[in-house]
């Protein structure tokens, strides 16, 4: 699908989403809910009010970063399914780094910024390492990265979950969590007053997306990566060391995934929790990225779509009485259709040009 033109891609993206939503409306109607209300609630619940909108943007922020993380890897032909695990590792590391270093820094704004930066860096380092590991296993031992990264997701969830409910849980904690981040480590509340969202976080995500798309399109490294993804022998011909490139790619992807965790801890949560209570950003991000044809900028609108879906789900279940599970299923449908661009080329041919299919 890498060879699809931009318009084709957009068509495919819109087509697959539309078809999936259409089918979901049918299902909703079939199980006796009002599909129109469902459709309306999807919109109202994601864009209908200031708070809904800010909630949508909150998810969008995380999806942009996670989507970019996936896009980087897939672009280079490496299938990093482990973004979820990497973001968990990144998130807990950011949290701990900040908590541990906080006592040694002034607790003014300056200290806050320093700590936040520290957290981001810690997340990038650990997330990068946690991704580099399967990268090395693939490059030098031929271990299928799809499986290893999925396994590493389970492992990250298990270990961090155990730690947060055990050694890392302060005695005075009323719920399962780490210590709070110091108050001065928080993103400023501008435009929206939503404790879980800051426009600064969104801006940061956008900057990352832009930076990555610049790296991919304007630097030798990016060219090497993308070329490896397109046609590995040609990349080798042009001087790319393919094994090392696999590791580099995974590392970069993991660093960005780590940022998701850091932003989650700093912007959304203010501390870290049992990862089984954190959304499947890492998995949905695969769909986000694919929907965007693995283009870092294309990820932004795709992230908005998935952000909106996630954001509206509670509103939908409250008002349409449609169970969340259905909404999860629908996301699955979207992903499924996104996976088969050929299907939509064919439909286009059939309907439009009526061209032959084979």
């Amino acid at each position: 699908m890498l060879d699809a033109t931009v318009y084709e891609r957009i068509g495919i993206a819109v087509g697959s989403t539309a078809l999936a939503l259409l089918i979901s409306l049918v299902i909703v109607a079939a199980v006796g809910h009002d599909p129109l209300q469902f459709a309306r609630d999807l919109i109202v619940g994601s864009f209908g009010s200031r708070r809904a909108f800010s909630r949508t943007l909150q998810f969008t922020t995380l999806f942009i970063l996670a989507g970019v993380a996936v896009a980087v890897a897939f672009r280079a032909g490496v299938f990093n399914i482990g973004v979820q695990g990497q973001l968990i590792i990144g998130g807990i590391s950011a949290t701990l780094a900040i908590i541990w270093v906080a006592p040694f820094l002034p607790n003014g704004v300056g200290g806050g910024i320093a700590l936040a930066l520290l957290g981001l860096i810690a997340a990038m380092v650990t997330g990068g390492l946690y991704a580099a590991f399967p990268g090395v296993l693939k490059a030098y031992y031929g271990a299928n990265e799809i499986i290893t990264t999925i396994m590493l997701n389970f492992i990250a969830i298990g270990i961090v979950g155990w730690a947060v409910d055990g050694p890392l849980r302060p005695d005075d904690a009323r719920s399962v969590r780490t210590d709070y981040l110091p108050d001065n480590v928080a993103l400023p509340q501008l435009l929206f007053e939503n404790p879980n969202f800051s426009i600064v976080g969104l801006a940061f995500a956008l900057v990352v997306a832009i930076v990555i798309s610049i790296v991919m399109t304007r630097t030798s490294l990016g060219y090497d990566m993308v070329t490896s993804g397109h046609q590995e022998p040609a990349a080798t011909f042009s001087g790319v060391a393919s094994k090392r490139m696999i590791v580099t790619t995974m590392t970069l992807s993991g660093m960005i995934a780590g940022l998701v965790g850091a932003i989650f801890a700093i912007m959304v949560q203010g501390y870290f929790i049992d990862p089984s209570g954190i959304g499947n950003y890492g998995f949905d991000a695969i769909a986000v990225s694919l929907l965007a044809a693995n283009n870092p900028l294309g990820v932004v609108p795709a992230a908005l779509l998935f952000g909106a879906l996630d954001s509206s789900s509670s509103y939908v279940q409250i008002n349409s009485g449609v169970p969340v599970q259905l909404i999860d299923g629908i996301v699955g449908l979207v992903v499924l259709f996104v996976a088969a661009p050929e299907l939509f080329r064919m439909i286009a041919k059939r309907t439009g040009l009526g061209g032959d299919d084979r």
Binding site: D41, R51, S175, V176, G277, I278, Q317, I318, S320
Partner: protein
């Protein structure tokens, strides 16, 4: 239950609602057809066959009795709890918001201040100094202790029912937990203390299935314990606890239920459920709803608890065993409860952790 889609939708669109929130409570006296209650699940979600379902049951009862309208909000991402609470509070059309599980505490401690006119009910914990919050601490430790007392008592008795029987000569009981988290470890510890309170020579085998949804795993844990001589296993594995019951059936042994009278809820296992250690969570949600309807908030505001003392915690004999079990059970249970009332029992674990 997708009831009343329409008028809820109205509220959904009408932002003005946020303001007339308090007088919404004000004129709530008596005729309560416009009283609305929302309940946010714990991360286990509804259908956990434990406190989520238990709390909901009380609300549904209230719905019937007072015609209040109940909205379920299932939220399995603990990360979203605070946001869910605020969504509902900001919507302004809910007279009471019920939250299941202490994981809601972090969010609520802020939202309670944010929305002083909103009535909140928190299950498993309370928020100091917030009188718009009715915080219910269920003495899970006391409940587990009672379960332990029952198990400890009955394993020494000779019980026969259907294919199942105990082995009075061997005194071994089991505990099958779901995920191995602090909360459940508190259940385990208190259960053990209950068993030992009866007779500290009794062996207690413990294990965890690693999940609240994997009934097969819990079945394996329980079976392993039955193998090893246990004749009664108590589970604290929410929905997965069904595995403990089927294990009892397969091994011709017995099991104990938790939270509600599971011999009713899961009647096809009734033949092995000797009894259940219960907490009157449904009564609590019913009571709080009633207070809102009757505009008697002060009766329920602040820290509340479900304890043996206020009969919020108890042990009930299974449907098929009423009158069949030896008197020693009643005697020991009564003694244990009295001991709680007289503060003679020191538990090493609190209601939600050790």
């Amino acid at each position: 239950l997708g009831n009343g889609d329409d008028d809820e939708a109205e509220n959904g669109d009408d932002p003005g609602n946020g303001d007339d929130d308090d007088n919404g409570n004000g004129n709530g006296n008596g005729e309560a057809d416009d009283v609305q209650v929302a309940i946010i699940s714990s991360d286990a979600g509804f259908g956990d066959n434990a406190f989520n379902d238990n709390a909901l049951a009380g609300l549904e009862e209230a719905a019937d009795d007072f015609g209040v309208e109940v909205t379920q909000v299932e939220e399995t991402e603990t990360a979203q709890f605070a946001a869910r609470q605020e969504d509902l509070a900001a919507d302004g059309s809910y007279d009471l918001i019920v939250m299941v599980g202490f994981q809601h505490w972090e969010g609520l401690s802020e939202n309670a201040e944010q929305y002083p006119d909103q009535y909140w009910m928190l299950i498993n914990d309370h928020v100091e100094g917030a009188d718009n919050v009715s915080g219910w601490i269920e003495m899970n430790n006391e409940m587990s202790f009672l379960a332990g007392v029952a198990a400890g008592t009955l394993t020494q008795e000779e019980i026969e029912h259907g294919d199942s029987s105990t082995d009075p000569d061997e005194s071994v009981v089991g505990f099958a937990g779901g995920d191995e988290i602090d909360l459940i470890e508190a259940f385990e510890q208190s259960y053990i203390e209950g068993v030992e309170w009866v007779d500290d020579s009794i062996d207690v085998l413990t294990g965890y299935g690693g999940s609240f949804s994997d009934s097969e795993a819990v079945n394996e844990v329980a079976s392993s314990q039955f193998d090893d001589g246990a004749d009664i296993v108590w589970h604290a594995a929410a929905a997965a606890g069904a595995g403990a019951f089927s294990a009892a059936q397969e091994n011709d042994r017995f099991a104990l239920g938790v939270d509600t009278d599971q011999s009713v809820g899961d009647e096809q296992y009734a033949d092995v459920i000797l009894g259940s250690a219960i907490k009157a969570l449904n009564e609590a949600t019913y009571m709080v709803t009633e207070a809102v309807v009757e505009d008697q908030w002060e009766d329920v505001s602040g820290e509340q608890n479900l304890s043996v003392e206020n009969e919020g915690i108890d042990f009930v004999v299974g449907q098929e065993f009423v009158g069949e079990l030896p008197d020693s059970l009643d005697e020991n249970l009564e003694a244990a409860k009295q001991a709680f009332i007289d503060d003679e029992i020191e538990l090493s674990c609190g209601p939600t952790g050790c």
